[in-house]
């Protein structure tokens, strides 16, 4: 691995260019002198194509990624991303289609979206699906805004609280707050479930919803999920399903049948659209028929004979301009659900991700999806079984697709989870999620996914067991890890105290004078 690659700005040379653009082939028009930028774009670098390619290729090699190693990040579902999906999304009819070019010219894209809506609904047991939200957190916000609209539509104005378990992802309380709700935390019990007594105490006529991840962030299936959904409904609240852990239950259980009213799908987790180093994702959402009229616009339907002939979940106004010629019956079109909360983002969602998810579902089918979850759960339980006598499990139970262990080693009390995670890097593995969920001290949250072989799982477990032995023998070695990476442990406090958030030649010159190598 390369030790240094300077910021791209330091590779710049005056007069260079990395693209081959057309000549201006029309008469030139006057430019409005008072509106021109005055700095001559002096801050942008100048490079040729080979220099740009080498720079970004070199820095890419300073990453761990699924294509190079197992990434066992819990709640992230870092499974293999099919190469076919990348080809599919780059077909010109998908990759170079304009979102506003009209339904006449977009029937293939719309059919794909319509079918994906139906597949996701079937897999999760919901009546209606919107593909618009851009990521899981946006799916959550969509759900809470839909709940709000539903309650208000019924004249129910008193529901100002959203309940979230103490094990919830941070996005849940952040979302509820963003939608204007007060967040009320519900405790977990000793078996890792929602504490039913605490839930009963906190449910009230003020309850708008409970946001629940199932399996939860301890990697455990909620043993009383049907009871939980019943209690929330009896209190007049609605059940939000955080789909981050949906990879555990494809063909195993349908959230819609368990009493959830709404859920988001992380297509970038369960349906293997790539994480991209932090996005793009896709946070499509599904819901019951009662909530369908509130979904964000636009959704896709087949053109009905009349609006009344539409299924109830597909009623609403067409998005077509008033003067456009009608589409033939059975063609695909966009529509705005009758009581839609509006538009969550521009256009129709992260379409490129939808193409990948559709391709995934079509390539493995129903049996393949069930096999995915069965194997994901098998792999997680295997890792748990091999490690729990050294790394205690947060809860002693059969887990689902991930296991939460603790980096509390009896023979090396001074060693922390962070040290174990960093040492794992020297064995060539990306660390698991650490210090989450917050209710587990020294948490190590491991999600192997179904696309790792037994050979890799064994190597991963062997590494963690070897680290435990190292910890007992030489704890200082763990504190020094990692040692094999392009950079080692960082001074993160300095980064926050004196933030340098962009390249500035003077600042970087000073860093060099201070002896920094880069």
């Amino acid at each position: 691995m390369h030790n240094h690659e300077p910021p791209i700005f330091e590779l710049s040379g005056q007069g260079k260019i990395g693209v081959n653009l057309p000549q201006i082939d029309v008469p030139q028009s006057d430019l409005p002198a008072d509106l021109l930028r005055t700095d001559d774009l002096a801050g942008l670098p100048e490079l040729t194509e080979p220099e740009v390619i080498r720079h970004y290729t070199r820095i890419s090699q300073r990453n761990f990624a699924i294509d190079t190693t197992m990434v066992s990040l819990g709640s992230c579902t870092m499974k293999y991303n099919s190469k076919l999906h990348e080809e599919a999304a780059r077909l010109p009819g998908f990759a170079a289609a304009h979102p506003l070019q009209g339904e006449e010219l977009s029937q293939g894209a719309l059919q794909l979206m319509y079918e994906l809506q139906a597949y996701l609904g079937e897999i999760s047991g919901f009546d209606a699906v919107s593909l618009q939200p851009a990521a899981g957190a946006q799916g959550e916000l969509t759900g809470i805004l839909v709940f709000r609209a539903y309650h208000l539509d019924r004249g129910d104005h008193e529901r100002v609280e959203v309940l979230t378990p103490d094990s919830a992802h941070g996005t849940n309380p952040a979302t509820a707050a963003m939608a204007g709700y007060r967040v009320v935390e519900v405790k977990s019990d000793a078996r890792g479930n929602v504490d039913l007594e605490d839930l009963k105490r906190k449910l009230s006529p003020r309850t708008a919803a409970l946001m629940l991840t199932n399996p939860n962030t301890l990697g455990l299936f909620e043993e009383h999920v049907v009871e939980v959904t019943r209690l929330v409904h009896e209190a007049g609240g609605l059940m939000y399903g955080d789909g981050a852990n949906f990879n555990a239950i494809l063909g195993i259980a349908k959230p819609g049948e368990l009493g959830f009213d709404f859920m988001h799908y992380n297509l970038h987790k369960t349906f293997t659209t790539p994480h991209g180093g932090g996005g793009p994702g896709s946070g499509a959402v599904g819901c019951t028929a009662a909530l369908a009229p509130f979904l964000p616009a636009p959704r896709v339907r087949r053109v009905p004979q009349t609006d009344q002939a539409s299924p109830p979940t597909e009623r609403g106004a067409s998005l077509r301009p008033a003067n456009a010629a009608p589409l033939p019956e059975g063609a695909y079109e966009f529509f705005v659900p009758e009581k839609s909360i509006g538009r969550m983002k521009t256009f129709h969602g992260n379409f490129g991700m939808l193409v990948r998810a559709w391709t995934y579902i079509r390539s493995i089918g129903a049996a393949g999806l069930r096999k995915v979850s069965e194997t994901a759960v098998l792999n997680a339980n295997y890792v748990q079984a091999r490690l729990k006598h050294v790394y205690p499990a947060a809860v002693e139970r059969t887990c689902m697709h991930e296991t939460v262990l603790q980096g509390k080693l009896a023979m090396a009390p001074e060693v922390r989870t962070l040290d174990i995670a960093k040492r794992l890097i020297d064995y060539g593995f990306h660390p698991p999620t650490v210090y989450f969920p917050l209710i587990v001290p020294e948490a190590l949250m491991i999600e192997p996914t179904e696309t790792e072989s037994k050979r890799t799982l064994d190597a991963f477990c062997d590494a963690l067991l070897a680290i435990a032995e190292e910890a007992a023998r030489d704890p200082e070695m763990l504190k020094r890890a990692p040692t094999t990476t392009p950079v080692r442990r960082l001074d993160e406090v300095r980064a926050a105290r004196q933030p340098i958030l962009r390249y500035d030649p003077a600042v970087f010159a000073r860093l060099r004078e201070e002896g920094l190598q880069f």
């Binding site: 490079l47 890419s60 851009a134 963003m178 967040v183 909360i341 990306h430 080692r488």
Partner: protein, 445 residues
């Protein structure tokens, strides 16, 4: 077994033994029995060759930038994407990586985002850029939310009617749960000066777009002065390509500036994934949403990149976070970084010049056509409004027959304009294309 699952039957038997259960189904006993293993009614799976055929059938039913001449913009733009951009995006080390929470094994992604932030600051003249939002619309909505958080005690956002209607819709959707008034765009013909006059002591921000939805360039400096005089923030939405020639939000004095980053090396992709560019002044950095990459050093005194100022984010602050955003558009930010590195200082200006001169050539050609009128709304960049002799739907239907995707029909969002379309010309439309458009418009008049 599918071709993505490497566990053999023998592996499974051995693993179940280690776990201490007899059957695979024993692992699912926590699932209520009457809801366990529901059938999934899905189409039969397809092999890769079959699937390629089906994908091909669907994609061929769509028009695209190679099958048609595109003169449509309205928030999504047919700009040139150099081949080198996608070659970098296709590197598994980038696109199959996770969010760079573990900096020692994520220096590639972190350096790329740091360079993206730096390039965006150089492009805009702003102090700080974050690691991205979902798209231009959500970036602008987050700007409004941030303004409410910065300017304490004020609950009003004044937004100009020339801001993209979809962005205004997104802003209203995302803010519907909180007590904030969004106003200023009730009169679609209100001038920017009239809109700025609505900014008062209760206003948190003035939100404008330049070039506006109609393609018109504005000098934003007087608007900044007006906003600041009332104690409000100036939020400017820009077109990153236009900054190859025209006034930057930094020069305009904007406090927060956002953009749709799709023109920077991200394809049309039927509307997404795109790139929300978000920038602000240094003094507001602790109120910014989303991820930020900064510079520090490791124990061996090597320069290193790391996510920083994390105490603003949802996984740490939970209900007190500045936003719920987690996954963003990281790979699209990489695309923009590679694009800006390739075009660089000269190339960006050339792209902007091509757009400007070709759009003005197109406007001049169309202005000569009987029945058509190019509206003079002020200096414009790459889009302009044309009044049409017939409804836009009928004109676009005729253009489709000629392999042309015509302009955006303004009659829905701006009915007062009558039959009018918003045309867009970029560096991808040659003079010959423009002449073909003019001829087709003449024929349909």
């Amino acid at each position: 077994m599918t071709h993505y699952i490497p566990i053999t039957d023998a592996d499974r038997a051995e693993m179940l033994k280690t776990i201490g259960v007899e059957r695979l189904t024993d692992l699912f006993e926590a699932v209520p029995t009457d809801h366990r293993f529901p059938p999934l009614r899905l189409p039969d799976p397809l092999s890769e060759p079959e699937l390629r055929r089906e994908l091909g059938r669907l994609e061929r039913m769509n028009a695209h930038a190679s099958s048609h001449m595109i003169f449509l913009g309205a928030g999504a733009y047919n700009h040139f994407v150099p081949a080198a951009v996608d070659q970098i995006l296709r590197r598994g080390e980038f696109y199959t990586a996770y969010t760079p929470y573990q900096p020692e094994v994520s220096q590639g992604t972190l350096q790329a985002i740091f360079e993206y932030q730096s390039l965006i600051c150089a492009l805009t003249g702003m102090d700080v850029a974050n690691a991205s939002h979902y798209d231009g619309g959500t970036a602008l909505a987050e700007a409004a939310i941030m303004a409410i958080n910065v300017v304490r005690g004020r609950r009003k956002i004044v937004v100009a009617p020339g801001v993209n209607p979809q962005y205004r819709a997104v802003m209203r959707t995302l803010l519907q749960g909180v007590d904030v008034e969004i106003t200023g765009d009730e009169n679609p013909e209100a001038s920017l000066a009239e809109v700025a006059a609505l900014v008062d002591q209760t206003t948190a921000a003035l939100v404008v777009q330049s070039p506006d939805f109609f393609g018109v360039l504005h000098d934003l400096r007087p608007l900044t002065t007006a906003a600041h005089a009332a104690g409000a923030l100036m939020v400017a939405h820009f077109d990153p390509i236009a900054l190859g020639l025209f006034q930057t939000p930094g020069e305009a004095g904007a406090d927060i500036a956002t953009a749709e980053g799709q023109p920077l090396g991200v394809g049309l992709s039927f509307g997404g994934p795109y790139l929300g560019i978000f920038t602000c002044r240094q003094q507001y950095v602790h109120k910014i949403a989303g991820r930020l990459v900064g510079v520090t050093r490791d124990v061996e005194n090597r320069l290193a990149y790391v996510l920083t100022l994390r105490a603003r984010e949802q996984d740490i602050r939970r209900e007190r976070a500045t936003s719920n955003i987690c996954t963003n558009q990281g790979l699209m930010a990489l695309a923009a970084a590679v694009y800006l590195s390739l075009v660089g200082r000269q190339g960006l200006r050339q792209v902007a010049e091509l757009c400007y001169h070709r759009a003005h050539y197109a406007a001049a050609q169309i202005a000569q056509l009987p029945g058509y009128q190019v509206l003079d709304r002020g200096p414009f960049f790459k889009e302009f409004v044309v009044r049409t002799p017939r409804p836009v739907g009928a004109i676009n239907a005729a253009l489709r027959e000629q392999g042309i995707i015509g302009g955006y029909d303004l009659s829905g969002d701006y009915p007062h304009l009558g039959d009018a379309m918003l045309l867009c010309v970029t560096e991808m439309n040659s003079r010959a294309d423009i002449d073909a458009l003019a001829a087709a418009l003449r024929a349909v008049a």
